[in-house]
């Protein structure tokens, strides 16, 4: 029973997250509309729970986003999931200390990888004649604004969490690391 309830809760949260992401892109004016709420929430979640579940959440969230996109199906799902997987690898092996610095760098790297894989996918589609042009200028401007505003959002959420939650306080992180 508990498992069913948590699964339903998970699906509802996912739908709410995607709806808010879509809503922000409609409501906020450019360039603020380029903020990537899904990545911001998932990176904070990854630092908070230290769980590889973020890769699957990223997959399902991007799957729903893809249903409302004009791009050929698979482009957003593939780039979103693989970049989150690589982001998780960076978190487990390189930026492991869950500091504000790690949060910021992980956000920059994950979004960069997301757009890099996305651009690579576009190139393949272009070579396969599935699309007529690759909008490099638009891609670059999206990447820059997305990085800037998502990093700011992650930074703000991180500051709020360190203030109101024990999980991100340095003494707790140190204690968890050295099993004090």
């Amino acid at each position: 029973m508990r498992n069913i309830l948590s699964a339903i809760g998970g699906i509802i949260s996912l739908i709410v997250l995607v709806s808010v992401e879509i809503g922000l892109s409609y409501i906020l004016p450019f360039p603020y509309s380029k903020i990537n709420l899904i990545f911001a929430v998932l990176i904070i979640w990854m630092l908070w729970r230290k769980s590889g579940m973020v890769v699957w959440i990223s997959f399902f969230a991007n799957f729903i986003v893809e249903l409302f996109a004009a791009s050929p199906f698979g482009l957003i799902v593939f780039s979103g999931t693989i970049s989150m997987l690589l982001g998780y690898w960076f978190f487990q092996n390189i930026f492991t200390n869950r500091s504000w610095f790690a949060a910021i760098v992980l956000t920059i790297i994950t979004i960069f990888l997301y757009r890099l894989i996305y651009a690579f996918g576009l190139l393949i589609l272009f070579w396969g004649n599935a699309i007529r042009v690759v909008p490099w200028k638009m891609m670059m401007s999206t990447l820059l604004w997305e990085e800037l505003f998502t990093v700011l959002l992650v930074g703000m959420i991180y500051v709020l969490l360190t203030r109101y939650s024990r999980q991100f306080r340095s003494e707790v992180i140190e204690a968890q690391r050295f099993k004090i």
Binding site: I15, Y26, A70, V77, W89, R132, P135
Partner: protein, 265 residues
């Protein structure tokens, strides 16, 4: 093979597998469920976004600005909640009447539809509408607003939802004619911000600022005579075989709420 690489490869394969299953159509049930759940929220948020972001206007002269200011002052004096509501209903009614008159005149079957969203990826300028395959919509069907102003073409269609590629999208191309004495032919292309460009206009033909641009009917699914916009600027280089015209679309592509899809057999 290390376990981390194995995990990476298995996840990548799984994602590919799911993408493949999508193209086989086996996921349509799940996809339609998510579309049906998210679409109402998307529609409401899109309309809210149009309301709060659609207040900016561009003026070409000081007189226009003064006129608009006077109108705004008048509107403020009469600004009562009931009147605003009534105005909105009237506008919607006018729009629907215009679309209905246009459809009768053209004698082409069409489907009225509401816009429930717009593009969320950086690939281009698109709209999401709440009609799809169930209503007879097919890929490449032209999409119009008001009394026949073309705003784009259908690029993707699902059971109850379609995606419209707007004329200012960087992948959009529509065969068009200038309403000048030569009836110059060309191609209206997007990818230039809010305006569009008409390319491949023969160098020896005269195009003037203010000339109207309509669809030429040379495309299989786009009827002749749908209004696209007005020439704002002509770019003519002596050494080039063709001249270009910068065209301002007749419809405000940022504020579209209702459209008609022309069902071309």
């Amino acid at each position: 093979m290390p376990s981390k690489s194995r995990t990476f490869i298995s996840i990548a394969i799984l994602v590919f597998l799911i993408i493949g299953i999508h193209y086989l159509g086996w996921l349509s049930g799940i996809e339609n469920f998510f579309r049906r759940v998210v679409a109402p929220a998307s529609g409401a948020l899109y309309n809210f976004g149009v309301n709060i972001n659609g207040t900016e206007e561009k003026f070409s002269s000081v007189d226009d600005l003064k006129k608009a200011y006077q109108e705004a002052m008048d509107a403020v004096l009469n600004n009562q909640v009931e009147q605003t509501k009534l105005k909105l209903v009237e506008q919607e009614n006018d729009e629907l009447r215009m679309q209905l008159n246009f459809q009768k005149k053209m004698q082409i079957k069409s489907v009225g539809s509401e816009v429930i969203g717009k593009n969320i990826d950086p690939l281009g300028n698109t709209l999401i509408i709440n009609r799809g395959l169930d209503d007879g919509i097919k890929i490449d069907d032209p999409v119009v607003v008001r009394d026949g102003i073309v705003v784009g073409k259908i690029v993707k269609t699902e059971q109850k939802m379609s995606i419209v590629r707007l004329i200012n999208d960087n992948q959009s191309k529509i065969a068009a004619t200038v309403m000048n004495s030569d009836k110059s032919m060309g191609l209206v292309e997007g990818g230039y911000g809010i305006s569009v460009q008409m390319t491949y206009i023969p160098q020896n033909e005269t195009v003037n600022i203010g000339d109207l641009i309509v669809t030429s009917g040379l495309e299989e699914k786009v009827p002749r005579g749908l209004l696209i916009g007005k020439v704002e600027m002509v770019e003519k280089e002596a050494y080039q075989p063709f001249q270009n015209a910068v065209v301002t679309p007749s419809a405000n592509l940022e504020k579209i709420r209702l459209v008609s899809v022309l069902l071309m057999e």
